[in-house]
């Protein structure tokens, strides 16, 4: 019984946050979105560092925030662990001091030693944060947050302050570290890899709203609108002018879909890796090869349709591609082409209002 439900709004100048969120009881949830979309603000609100203007936050059977009852549980009493974007380590304390900060005096030393061993920081117990590398600092921040055995772990862009080359390993480490625990973990990030590698659930945030929330696979495979698809790395969108039965058409030609597209369909979206060059039997859209870029193990082929619209196709680097300037026909596998509306706000049903007295307020003491 530690499911978190939040319905909150916060307006500050031009910024407008309006979120309904139901966090799964376990597993890692990634909040993805461009910078300025409000994901860090949401995390700070969950942490009790900022107070929303209206709504409720319930965690299991305890009330963290309820504007109508004027309840606001401060950070100290929420039993959360937080890893800040730049780790916010205490520069005047050494590694052991940092990790032990939130622990009661009795048994602190053994507890700290345990965590240092677990995160391979034993050798650095006496070092100060200024003496550590980015990856080591991240581990100290993680150890410090986890040592208090929080009910929930919140991470704000945990990999932004470490070298790109180290990120992959740190992601695996983080996953292994939190996988065996029952506590929910929320990661705020604007890197798709963080979500794909780590998260069981993904929420996509744009302009202060959660536009889609679901399992990572589902959200990445089936974005519910163009804005979400864009955040998730879909690059190709064919504008739709008219819909007739299963057929959608635009200036680029037409396409016969498997099912009937929604009436609010504004475009057909497809990821670059699913675009293919059509074989003789396959239906195709006429295009011209504009440029070919080598992106590591894949090749990005930039194509221009007859109406001037540009699409990008990714192929394995060793697969032959037509030369720049040649005319080709592009094939959109129907399984991967999605009819998308422009913008959708999904709001889970508002969490039912809990009357005062129904719930005993659970006060946490943090010795």
């Amino acid at each position: 019984m530690s499911e978190l439900k939040a319905n909150i709004t916060l307006k500050r100048g031009n910024f407008d946050l309006d979120v309904s969120l139901q966090l799964p009881e376990r597993g890692i949830t990634a909040l993805l979105g461009p910078s300025g979309s409000g994901k860090s603000s949401l995390l700070r609100i969950l942490a009790g560092l900022d107070r929303p203007q209206s709504g409720q936050i319930y965690q299991g059977d305890s009330i963290w925030y309820d504007q109508d009852q004027n309840i606001f549980l401060p950070s100290q009493q929420r039993r959360i662990g937080m890893v800040f974007q730049n780790y916010a380590l205490f520069s005047h304390l050494n590694v052991a001091g940092n990790v032990g900060y939130g622990l009661p005096r009795t048994g602190r030393r053994q507890h700290v030693e345990q965590w240092l061993t677990r995160l391979q920081l034993d050798k650095h117990a006496d070092h100060y944060p200024a003496q550590l590398s980015g990856g080591q600092r991240q581990r100290v921040a993680l150890a410090r947050a986890l040592a208090t055995d929080p009910d929930m772990l919140l991470l704000d862009e945990p990999f932004s302050a470490v070298d790109v080359s180290l990120r992959q390993n740190l992601r695996y480490q983080l996953k292994a570290l939190v996988a065996d625990s029952n506590r929910p973990v929320v990661i705020v990030s604007h890197h798709l890899e963080d979500a794909l590698l780590l998260a069981d659930h993904v929420g996509v945030m744009i302009e202060g709203r959660i536009l889609q929330f679901g399992s990572t696979h589902e959200v990445f495979m089936k974005p519910n609108c163009r804005s979400v698809a864009q955040v998730l790395g879909w690059q190709n969108f064919l504008p739709v002018r008219s819909i007739a039965g299963h057929t959608v058409s635009g200036a680029w030609g037409d396409l016969q879909l498997d099912g009937e597209p929604g009436v609010d369909t504004s475009c057909i979206g497809i990821r670059p890796e699913h675009l293919r060059i059509a074989t003789a039997e396959q239906p195709g859209i006429k295009a011209e090869v504009l440029a070919i870029h080598q992106l590591g193990a894949i090749r990005a082929v930039q194509c221009r349709l007859q109406d001037g619209k540009e699409l990008e196709m990714h192929t394995p680097w060793d697969e032959p591609v037509p030369a720049t300037g040649s005319d080709i026909r592009l094939y959109l596998p129907l399984a991967y082409a999605r009819a998308l509306p422009e913008y959708v706000v999904t709001k889970p049903a508002r969490t039912e209002y809990i009357k005062e007295g129904d719930v005993k307020r659970r006060r946490f003491s943090h010795a």
């Binding site: 950070s75 100290q76 916010a88 380590l89 205490f90 003496q131």
Partner: protein, 223 residues
């Protein structure tokens, strides 16, 4: 030696620094974090004693402290004694006079605190009081030390303001600098020498300790 004047000066400086720390803490914290439009005028007002001739500051304080001044009237109605030419008046005047020397180092130290370190302490369960003493105070310790020492030394060295609002009453308002002045006035150069050299050595020792500690603390954290 004028032990009375020395004792009075130390008492004045100690009480002034304690009071100033209490007032300056919230003020410096606010100045370090606010985005308010009145920050700049407040900053300018705080720094005023740095540039104002002590006699000007002393003159206006004297007007305020007088039996007909706003503060003086209130004080007389409260205690029956006037503020001007009293030790209490001297303490209040010293607080104004040394304010920037306490506020500015604290503000600078608060501005340099790691962003979110305090919030990190809260998420780890620390109460606001504990977080303040275990995160803010150690991280801003150089600022605290500088504020205390400069506030103390500056109060010890004040002359013009004391002369204006305190006068020269032995045991009441006659601090070291006034005593030196009086010795010179009546050509007691030997006594003036004693006090002056004591003040000189004291000032040098204080600054020496501050710079030394700053250097060591700096090394301790980032070595």
């Amino acid at each position: 030696m004028d032990t009375q004047a020395i004792w009075l000066t130390l008492k004045l400086a100690t009480i002034t620094v304690i009071l100033l720390l209490l007032f300056s803490l919230p003020l410096a914290w606010w100045l370090a974090h606010t985005k308010s439009r009145i920050k700049v005028p407040v900053e300018a007002l705080t720094a005023l004693p740095l540039v104002l001739p002590p006699t000007v500051l002393g003159f206006y304080l004297l007007v305020m402290f007088g039996a007909h001044g706003p503060l003086g009237k209130f004080w007389v109605s409260l205690t029956g004694h006037p503020l001007s030419f009293s030790f209490t008046g001297l303490v209040i005047a010293s607080c104004f006079y040394s304010l920037p020397f306490v506020v500015q180092p604290l503000q600078a130290a608060f501005e340099k605190l790691e962003p979110h370190a305090l919030e990190a302490a809260w998420t780890l369960g620390a109460t606001r009081l504990r977080a303040f003493f275990t995160v803010v105070v150690p991280q801003a310790r150089r600022g605290f030390l500088t504020a205390i020492v400069l506030g103390f030394a500056h109060t010890v060295g004040e002359f013009g303001v004391v002369l204006m609002v305190g006068g020269n009453i032995p045991g009441q308002t006659q601090v070291i600098s006034i005593a030196i002045y009086e010795h010179v006035e009546v050509l007691e150069y030997g006594a003036a020498h004693q006090l002056s050299s004591a003040l000189l050595i004291f000032s040098f020792a204080v600054l020496f300790i501050v710079y030394g500690l700053n250097r060591r603390w700096n090394g301790g954290i980032h070595a």
